[in-house]
């Protein structure tokens, strides 16, 4: 945070892009774009503001004004512009975007992959509460078997708060969608939140059941590729790159399916997975 002639500016690092937000307090909801994950300065900058207008609100992205019906709509526009810009820059580096939460356990990076509603954010929040190093609840950019988490606040649904009542004491911002989304800065629970590249050791496909026990099982490569590609292709301009990067990823990472029931059991399953030697997986030669 730097002060410029009494005006407050905030730099939000997204690794491929720095977002500059002047006077974020003019829009409380704009806080949804902010986070406290330290990122090195990026080569390009995007300036975002959300401002009221006599007939509604607008988002200002690099000075380009787009009207919106309300404050939330304007923030959503700005958020999408940021995500699109990140995707363009990451893709230009040959990275594919996997729909997956990212957790590091015992030095092993694990991707928790699944479609929207599969439980990524709920499990990510539970892992965070368990004291583990969760660096994204949504996406990872992957190249050469290395994953860089997408830095952003976690997006939690009301059901997540029902499962994890301890979260209500955390730094939550309510976004007035219907049903509402609760925005959580992971730094509120994990002061060591870092957005660092690391090789992926395990890929876990989430299979939500919402009740009963959590169980981990192995998944064959063909199934893993099909499920991962389904979520990655819409975010990639070149499908052969998706296939190539998935092949590289799965050449060194083991793949599993997690039947996501009880969260405490799911956490124990992932801890046990991280303790497995890669050699025991029979994948490293």
């Amino acid at each position: 945070v730097i002060g410029v002639t009494a005006q407050r500016w905030e730099r939000i690092g997204y690794r491929w892009l720095d977002v500059i937000v002047p006077s974020p307090r003019r829009s409380t909801l704009l806080t949804a774009l902010t986070h406290r994950a330290p990122c090195p300065p990026a080569a390009t900058t995007m300036t975002i503001a959300i401002e009221p207008r006599p007939d509604g609100w607008c988002s200002l992205v690099d000075g380009h004004e787009t009207p919106a019906a309300d404050e939330l709509g304007a923030v959503a526009q700005a958020y999408q512009r940021v995500q699109d810009a990140i995707l363009v820059r990451a893709s230009a580096q040959g990275r594919i975007r996997l729909h997956a939460a990212v957790v590091d356990i015992a030095g092993q990076r694990i991707l928790l992959a699944g479609h929207s509603g599969s439980g990524k954010s709920t499990l990510a929040a539970a892992l965070l509460l368990a004291g583990l190093n969760v660096s994204s609840d949504e996406a990872a950019f992957v190249r050469d078997g290395m994953a860089i988490p997408l830095p952003r606040r976690f997006h939690l649904r009301p059901t997540t708060l029902e499962h994890l009542p301890d979260l209500t004491a955390a730094d939550l911002l309510r976004l007035p969608y219907e049903p509402p989304i609760w925005s959580l800065d992971p730094a509120a629970l994990n002061g060591s939140w870092r957005i660092e590249p690391a090789p992926v050791r395990h890929v876990v496909l989430l299979d939500p059941v919402h009740c009963g026990p959590s169980e981990l099982s192995s998944v064959d490569t063909a199934t893993a590729v099909a499920e991962l590609a389904r979520e990655a292709v819409p975010y990639s301009p070149r499908r052969n790159v998706v296939v190539r990067e998935l092949a590289t990823l799965l050449a060194t990472a083991s793949c599993h399916r997690l039947r996501l029931g009880a969260l405490d059991q799911a956490i124990e399953c992932l801890r046990a997975l991280a303790q497995r030697s890669p050699d025991h997986e029979g994948l490293h030669q």
């Binding site: 063909a222 590729v225 052969n240 190539r244 799965l250 050449a251």
Partner: protein, 92 residues
């Protein structure tokens, strides 16, 4: 290595990627992905135009199986690889 190219050959324009349990093939023309298991991978990689009897013999040697069993493996694999248009055979 044989110079006789009368046997099955891999079709061009297929991107080949290694995975832990075989190969992941991508063909841009029709935007398809195929995963070959280890046996299919072995046969696919030997499809360099060598005559089919040589192919069977090589599979038998590599897998240390009876030639009859190797012939069955090759036949099954080539049928599928040809159907998927990953391999072409001189006789169609």
């Amino acid at each position: 290595v044989t110079t006789d190219t009368s046997g099955p050959v891999r079709v061009a324009d297929v991107e080949v990627n290694e995975v832990a349990d075989g190969l992941l093939l991508y063909r841009g023309g029709d935007d398809t992905v195929h995963h070959l298991n280890p046996l299919a991978t072995l046969v696919y990689e030997l499809c360099d135009g060598r005559p089919r009897p040589d192919l069977v013999g090589d599979v038998a040697t590599i897998l240390a199986v009876d030639p009859v069993d190797a012939a069955a493996i090759v036949a099954a694999a080539l049928t599928e690889l040809t159907r998927l248009q990953l391999v072409s055979q001189p006789d169609g």
